[in-house]
């Protein structure tokens, strides 16, 4: 059986993380192709329901990338994301999903290398964790 290949959705803010991912490309750095980026204007646009939806639809990991604290293009959107992610992680645990399957990272437009490291590290982490198995028909949580 082929090794399990995780599916990862990456929500990246337009100004920092998506630009950091672009820099990784421009610098011809390599990382594992398991993630696909959805570009949003600000990490604070990411609604907890987007993350839950992704897990429901088969994502094994979700990563949200924003600007570093204090550097948000929209002043403090990333702080809002930080607060939402903290709550959302509690909710994930209640759903029986390992909260570590969701990660929030601050990656600036200048941090192509960091983007690559984060993607590789997170992909390896999720690969070790294995495929996310959600309970059928809203049954009891698997208690991951």
């Amino acid at each position: 059986m082929a090794e399990f290949e995780p599916k990862i959705v990456c929500f990246a803010c337009n100004w920092c993380t998506s630009a950091g991912a672009d820099l990784a490309g421009t610098s011809r750095m390599e990382y594992q192709p398991n993630s696909v980026i959805i570009r949003v204007m600000c990490s604070s646009r990411v609604d907890p329901q987007h993350v839950l939806w992704a897990f429901k639809k088969g994502a094994d990991g979700v990563i949200i990338g924003g600007c570093h604290p204090g550097d948000c293009h929209y002043q403090d959107g990333n702080y809002k994301t930080l607060r939402r992610v903290k709550l959302l992680k509690k909710l994930l645990a209640d759903f029986g999903i390992n909260p570590d399957r969701l990660r929030l990272e601050w990656i600036s437009a200048a941090e192509g290398k960091k983007f690559v490291n984060v993607m590789n590290e997170f992909t390896d982490f999720i690969r070790k964790l294995g495929q996310l198995k959600l309970p059928e028909n809203g049954g009891p949580p698997s208690g991951e």
Partner: protein, 655 residues
């Protein structure tokens, strides 16, 4: 809701940049089968003229209602392809970019996997664009007046440039005179131009300029509004002296019984409670410092008012709130020196003959407390050995600031050189980490200090400075020879780090612009937008944005002014339309979104009981959308439905 059924997909090879790793034919063939896609094709360079022509003709021939170009990052060619789309008669917001180069072909090597990923990316963008709505840029009115905050060289330069461009400027300075730190300097590197001599003509020009309204002893208290339409409240503190009536006779200061340290000379001299900061002050008038004057209740003193012949003094002057409307703001609040209290190991503030760089400037200055003679503050003797210590508080991430203050290498070389010009038989030592002399004529200037003026440069740090037998003993190490060094100096000058001006953080909160980790105002882009702040309509100039020397400050100020002038050259402004909107039938008026909006763009409509969006204020971050519990709030062309459909496409075939 999918409102597009005729999408065209254009896959770019970018030579081998994409086609080398991604099977572009397969991407096009797969996308051709996607729902609603009526054309999917590939071409070697989509951004080339024939490539764009292919898109334009396909839109017309196939009657496309939406376009996806799978190519490089949208930061590069989104505008190119949106313009091409528009030329074919389609709304430009019906064109979206699938980034399959920077975020796919350049970062992966396995062709099969990269192709599969490129297909997912492109499909997700097709799903998005099929739900896009046509948008028009939002028009915003424009007030063609500017506010400049800070009256140092950067603020002066920006104000003059804008005023000379024909627009009105309000220049706000919190101290009693404009001039900033530059007016305190003796000479400037590397030409040794007299600082006052080159700055005072500009100060006079400001005071006489018909387009400049100068508000000194004033502070910005409140700012509301948005680009093109800011409303500003400025507090004008009372000076208790009518500047038009004051004849500068100085009788008031003669009789004033209160002596306090003189800020202009950094405490090296005293001033009275009623004072003029320096003879060339603009506005040219005395100021009564109410904090130290005992006589605002005239029974207590009242000596100055008795001797003032022109009756310029008025104890009943009240603070004034001045309200102005401006279209653009230049922040030029400059710098202060790093807190001396934090440099206890160097004896600053404890040993009278340990000075900071600005104090030494005053000692060197012909208009300074010693009329340009270098004398020790403790006993007024000429110091024969002077130690200059660089990087005091700079480049020290453990204890102080991690950053380089940039100008200290140069001004220390200047200090040492000028000291030698004043005291030819004296000896100057400089402790340094590195010498950073990038700049026109700068390296030559440092060479001149060492070669012509015999300044001794010692590479190493100073561990301790203390007093002994009337001398200031400096313990240090010369890391080049590896030897400990003890110098029995007569005076020590510390090149204190540059830090943001006191009050800059508070001002940032008023302006709602961000500061970096060190407290300097953040520019919009470190390379390509160095004079703009993150907030449109607010620009940065000078040290407020980071340590820099005078020519760089002047250049940035002129850059900020030219941005303002370019803005004012239009009749109105436009604004990206990907803003928040509200479904009035769904919104329940819970107001959660109001707390999320950093731009005050969310307003509660009392009549309808719902929250609406001021499109002009909305910057389109989407924070309020994510907070909306009912789904009434959506971001145009970034709706929940669009994002969820993108997630679906990316994860298609799993579960």
């Amino acid at each position: 809701m999918k409102n597009k059924k005729r999408t065209g997909v254009f896959v770019c090879h970018c030579g081998i940049n994409i086609a080398g790793t991604v099977d572009v034919k397969k991407v096009a063939a797969t996308l051709a089968k996607h729902e609603g896609v009526v054309l999917a094709t590939d071409y070697v360079y989509m951004c080339s003229d024939p490539g764009q022509k292919l898109i334009i003709e396909s839109i017309k021939e196939k009657n496309l209602d939406s376009v996806v170009v799978a190519c490089c990052s949208p930061t590069l060619h989104e505008s190119t392809f949106r313009k091409a789309t528009n030329m074919a008669g389609l709304n430009p917001y019906q064109c979206e970019i699938a980034n399959i180069r920077e975020q796919c072909s350049w970062v992966h090597k396995d062709k099969e996997k990269a192709t599969a990923k490129a297909i997912k990316i492109t499909k997700s963008i097709v799903e998005k664009v099929q739900r896009n709505i046509p948008l028009e840029p939002i028009s915003v009115p424009l007030t063609k007046r500017a506010l400049v905050i800070g009256g140092g060289i950067s603020g002066i330069q920006a104000a003059l440039d804008i005023a000379n461009g024909g627009y009105e400027v309000i220049l706000v300075e919190r101290s009693p005179s404009i001039g900033g730190h530059m007016i305190q300097l003796s000479e400037t590197f590397p030409t040794l131009d007299c600082s006052q001599c080159i700055l005072t003509p500009k100060m006079v020009e400001v005071s006489k300029h018909p387009n400049i309204k100068l508000l000194t002893y004033s502070e910005v208290q409140e700012i509301s509004g948005f680009v093109g339409n800011f409303k500003v409240k400025i507090l004008k503190k009372p000076t208790y002296v009518d500047p038009d009536a004051c004849t500068l006779c100085g009788e008031c200061a003669e009789v004033c019984p209160v002596v306090v340290p003189n800020e202009f000379d950094l405490g090296l001299t005293g001033r009275k409670a009623i004072y003029i900061p320096f003879p060339q002050a603009i506005p040219a008038a005395y100021t009564l410092d109410s904090e130290h004057c005992p006589g605002l209740v005239p029974i207590a003193c009242g000596k100055c008012i008795d001797v003032c012949e022109p009756k310029a003094i008025d104890y009943d002057m009240k603070p004034q709130i001045i309200e102005e409307e401006v279209g653009a703001i230049v922040v030029a609040t400059g710098y202060d020196l790093y807190e001396k209290e934090r440099m206890a190991e160097y004896g600053y503030g404890r040993i009278p003959d340990v000075l900071d760089g600005l104090q030494f400037e005053r000692l060197l200055s012909a208009s300074g407390p010693t009329k340009g003679e270098v004398l020790r503050p403790s006993d007024h003797r000429v110091p024969k050995e002077v130690v200059f210590i660089q990087c005091c508080g700079s480049r020290d991430p453990e204890l102080h600031n991690a950053y380089c203050s940039k100008i200290c290498c140069m001004y220390t070389a200047k200090h040492a050189m000028l000291y030698k010009h004043h005291v030819p038989d004296g000896q100057a030592y400089v402790f340094y980490i590195d010498i950073r002399s990038g700049g026109k004529g700068y390296e030559e200037f440092v060479q001149r200090a060492t070669e012509e003026d015999g300044v001794v440069y010692l590479r190493g740090k100073v561990s301790k400075v203390f007093q002994q037998n009337g001398k200031v003993i400096v313990w240090g190490v010369d890391t080049l020879s590896g030897k400990d060094i003890q110098i029995e100096a007569d005076m020590v000058v510390l090149a204190m780090a540059i830090r943001p001006s006191r009050g800059a953080t508070e001002l940032a909160k008023i302006l709602k612009i961000s500061v970096d980790k060190d407290g300097f105002f953040s520019e919009a882009h470190p390379k390509l937008r160095p004079v703009e702040s993150m907030v449109s309509g607010m620009f940065l100039a000078g040290m407020a944005q980071g340590p820099k020397d005078i020519p760089e400050t002047v250049a940035q100020a002129s850059g900020a002014a030219s941005k303002v002038l370019a803005m004012f050259s239009a009749d109105e402004l436009t604004h990206d339309p990907i803003v928040a909107e509200v479904d009035e039938n769904v919104c329940c008026g819970c107001k959660l979104c109001i707390s999320q909006c950093p731009y005050d763009a969310r307003i509660f409509d009392e009549e309808k009981g719902i929250v609406i969006v001021n499109e002009v204020l909305c910057e389109g971050c989407g924070a309020c959308i994510a907070a909306c519990p009912s789904g009434a709030a959506q971001q145009r062309n970034f709706t929940d439905e669009q994002i969820l459909s993108m997630v679906d496409t990316i994860l298609e075939g799993e579960k």
